[in-house]
Homo-oligomer: 469 residues x 3
């Protein structure tokens, strides 16, 4: 049994797939039951299906980065939309390289209690190289791993990119481009992989029995904590919170773009949660994957309806932005256990996730924390709720879940906060007030997002500019 | 043989899959031929492939909702774009919940001649629950069903959402938000499922031999009839049709968004028609699915070229909007039989669908019916044509097809009309004239779609506003 | 062994799949190993998987046309955005029909040294028709082909559409609509298929050992050469290159649309390269497909980072447009060999591709060649580099590669140039100066892209207009 196989099963037994462990080892449930396993070929089929599932669903998760980009580019002022596009295409590239160079090894290879290996790069197994080189004798060893090594890497990499995407939206319009990229490198090379090592990698939280199927906490809350730390260190946009206690309205500049972004995220989430079944080789996997997609959809729908019905009471109007965030927060909440909750619980979990997101939007405003797209309420608050809700809905140890939420929160927030602080000293986290007023697009990129469209002049911005150094 | 299996085969024999029935029952064509069927495991593989096909193609169909959203948000005035986003994200959520609570049972479970079961909720089979709970003995019964229960639910649910999406575009800019959602609930919980029960569910039309592979009539015409009824009850936008007989031009406000929407629909339609093969377990299924994708693409391409070449004669200019609708109407038309028509017929069917759509645009204008996005010509007219064309192209009983088209049209239109009328009494279907003039975005949502962009003032709107109560 | 099977293997042995040939013929690596092959059914499974892989990945490649459309519609002036949408939806339709009527046969059926067959239309094999017609005895012959005939057609067709998409961007804002469509018809019916016949079809370059896995040269450079020829014949936009040697800035009009386009292309490229493995029937195919997706992603990421870091030195600012093109050129470069280069080489190849693209942007500007979206640098320059880099990275005959690059370049450029020249005589390639100044949207389509948005007036355009005939 190769290292990869160990890693895979460790992840499964570590709680990512509470139900599936039994399935995978059960002779009758696999496509390789006893009768066929005696022949060659049956395990090969499972290998192909598992690999193909990683690839197809992984492509959908990659697509979520486009969703975040559209959501954020539509949510910021027009004067900041080019820069948010730059940050998003850049963060996906940074995450893809750091996770290749360091992150994956740290998260998954020979994980002890705390971390994996500080090795550089990751690649196909020696058996796979031999097989592609024409050594047919390597096929058996390759097949035994259960899936192609790099298909798993691909699927894991698009997850870390999701975590980084959460940060860009919250800090939009004022965080420096290069500082942001350095933070993303730290988040994706070290912080997220360590959280992952504790859990999916088989570390101490996994050993305690902590369960988080596709990452309500591991992916979404971690991103949310990093965003919150950043929002605190970077501070709110100039003029967002006024001395008289009032809050400047900053409505999204392009609503159809925001809506498209949410639809992309919704679509991509089927890959995010469905692919996290990690296998397609058995009947039980296929059944579970189906339930996962349905529960994901029901939770999102419930989040939408909840926001539709409650936003007038909570936020003063039927709020499209809250409704769109309702879909996201509903999906964040169900992500911890779409495989083990039943459908009615999925609806309830999604609805409460959306409710908490709306509350969170108010709380952040009262606390004068500026999160441009509501990333913290949608990903952090709903993520915590989802991780706890899983064991309420489907059984599990509440205190273990709470321990995981707290430990990951403490770690992700504190390391992010320290990293932001260090970066502030080293290179500054925030653009100058004049750059912020003019907009990063014109001031830093020299490229307006909509250069031919005549835009409103914001009188407050004029004041900001006159006051600037 | 479980209920689910009966439902499945009934749907197949009910005409959804004229050709495939033979394939599925033919020993040599399945992946589970006699030789392997004697062993466990072969049927398991078919189960996994069928299920995975439902999920992947179903995700593409869900994506069509984003396509409709972009198409509609780009087609309406800028002042109405936020509201159309709200309606589209909301209708997908409403459809997803009503179809879960009522619709699916009514359409597919124990269907007699007219309807299925008025039961609440739908979920995995008892065998599936047992299997996921660790009871490996349930695997055989699960496998026998041929696909995972919820994968089919997911695939059917995204179809009902498509039907609802058709309505939102036609009635844009003037229908009340909550009234629209209540109508969508009625359409997706009752009207569409009853149409579905008559046909794919195995009811009276299926028993007569009516065939509509992926829903030219069942999905698209039903949506078109519901939209037409709504357009008649709600009435045209203020000022659209002037007393002097002239028609106010209301060009799309964002052409790239409309174009993106059509590309999304084109992409999603591969899932819509391809997934409607309902199985991937045999060589014949794979061959048929390939032909389906090719025919879908050829029909759409023919629709585009037809509109390109004829729009100048018919509409007075080389018309991009008609060309984009040409792709849609071409695909609507081929949807009734992409599995049984040959490629040349697919081209012809798509071309004529596009031609009828252009004629329909003119007819609606002459009849002073205001359909903002051309949903009725594209989905209803082309859908009727496609359903009839199938039997012209590939054999079948023309009168049975005509009976189905007429019966479904009569039912869908009359129930929709009654529902719209009842809603008009109960809560009003139409916003006030002043809200319409200001735009639903500002007046009802308090959220302009493009708040920072300076927009043209429409002098006619000013007149409207001065005349308002 | 059927014709189709011969074609398939010829393509594989012709270099498209250097490594995979061994895999496919190796008994132990297929899902149909000796033990199972003796039974019926095993080859059927491979058939289903190969076919399904073509279809799913092919849909992603079709989606790239939407990516090009968004990229181009966002890159042109607002006054030309509707027309570029028209050209893109039209070219996909034209390509889909010409390749069906002529192109595929010319490229793949009974290819000698230079071309295939001048036959009309293409369709399912007789065995497939018989199978779908109920003749179960045809199953064995169908299965022997290895994949469904039309699934391959579909996958090849979306590739030719990609080639045509490259041309539309370069010539935006001044090429005549109908002339462009006629050129696309010639490119997709004849020019591209002949290039394809020489290589993937098994012609003289394939026989020499030329290798280009998914088409750095065959698809991307061919499109780039056609675009370059067009740019030379059509000439630059009025006022782009001034007499004093300065260059008029023409920044993209809608940056979020451009960014969305690049994300769509990135997503679609997983299908472009992954699907070019051409099979999913064996463990080695699954391993190779995984490596392909990872290498594609790494090359794109490296392209992004390279442009981020070097654009200030090379282009005078941190350049978002170059960064987005960095992703594209990185992927173009790796496309020739994502299956045989290792990951570190993939990063290097992508980085250099991006570097060459930036150099190319400067070179074109100096040579006063107007390529609106940078299609020639991204697709032609990076494509040439990638085709040569493959044999540097993974072995192969450099001179054979160079011969292929030169021969295809010479052929594609000269035939395109001649066709453009003939079209110029016959129907004119360029709109009048007044149409160009007003914009093709208003002047030819009568449909502004953003009719309600107030746009800047370009003073230079005013001058153009006054000077116009």
């Amino acid at each position: 049994m190769s290292t990869h196989r160990i890693r895979w099963f460790r992840r499964l037994t570590a709680g990512r797939n509470l139900v599936s462990t039994a399935m995978l080892s059960g002779a009758g449930l696999l496509l390789a039951p006893a009768a066929l396993a005696a022949q060659d070929g049956a395990g090969e089929l499972g290998f192909v299906l598992n690999t193909y599932s990683f690839l197809v669903w992984g492509v959908l998760v990659m697509w979520m980065c486009a969703g975040f980009t559209m959501l954020e580019a539509g949510s910021v002022r027009s004067k900041s939309a080019s820069m948010i596009c730059m940050k998003n295409i850049g963060l996906y590239a940074v995450a893809g390289l750091t996770y290749y160079v360091i992150g994956y090894n740290l998260m998954y290879v020979d994980v002890g209690d705390l971390i994996g290996t500080f090795g550089f790069f990751y690649g196909p197994s020696a058996d796979e190289v031999a097989l592609l080189g024409g050594n047919e004798g390597a096929a058996a060893a390759v097949t035994e791993n259960g899936y192609s090594v790099m298909s798993d890497w691909f699927f894991q990499m698009v997850f870390v990119a999701t975590t980084a995407s959460i940060v860009s939206g919250a800090l939009a319009e004022r965080v420096k481009l290069w500082t942001f990229f350095v933070f993303v490198a730290g988040l994706t090379a070290v912080i997220y992989p360590i959280v992952g090592a504790w859990t999916w990698g088989g570390g101490w939280l996994a050993q305690m029995g902590f369960t988080d199927f596709a990452g309500s906490t591991i992916v979404h809350s971690t991103g949310g904590w990093a965003a919150l730390a950043g929002a605190l260190v970077v501070g709110p946009r100039w003029g967002k919170f006024r001395k008289d206690g009032s809050v400047k309205l900053t409505p999204p500049s392009n609503i159809p773009a925001v809506t498209l972004g949410v639809f992309i995220l919704w679509m991509g989430w089927f890959g995010f949660n469905g692919g996290s079944e990690l296998a397609l080789s058995g009947v039980a996997n296929a059944v579970s994957m189906s339930n996962i997609l349905v529960n994901t959809n029901l939770a999102a729908a419930a989040g939408v309806i909840t926001a539709l019905c409650l936003s007038r009471s909570l936020l003063g109007r039927v709020d499209l932005f809250a409704t769109l965030n309702g879909a996201i927060s509903g999906m964040v909440a169900i992500t911890a256990g779409p495989n083990i909750t039943n459908s009615l619980w999925a609806i309830l979990i999604g609805a409460i996730g959306s409710f908490l997101c709306m509350i969170g939007l108010k709380v952040l405003e009262v606390r004068r924390i500026d999160d441009v797209v509501g990333a913290v309420p949608a990903h952090l608050f709903a993520g915590v709720w989802g991780t706890l809700a899983t064991c309420i809905a489907a059984g599990g140890d509440f205190w273990v879940q709470l321990t995981g939420v707290a430990a990951i929160g403490l770690f992700a927030f504190s390391t992010s906060w320290i990293l932001w602080k260090v970066l502030d000293r080293a290179m500054g986290v925030r653009v100058s007030r004049s750059v912020e007023t003019i907009g990063q697009d014109a001031a830093e990129l020299g490229l307006d997002a909509y250069p031919e469209f005549v835009l409103m002049v914001d009188p407050d911005d004029d004041n900001d500019f006159r006051d600037a150094d």
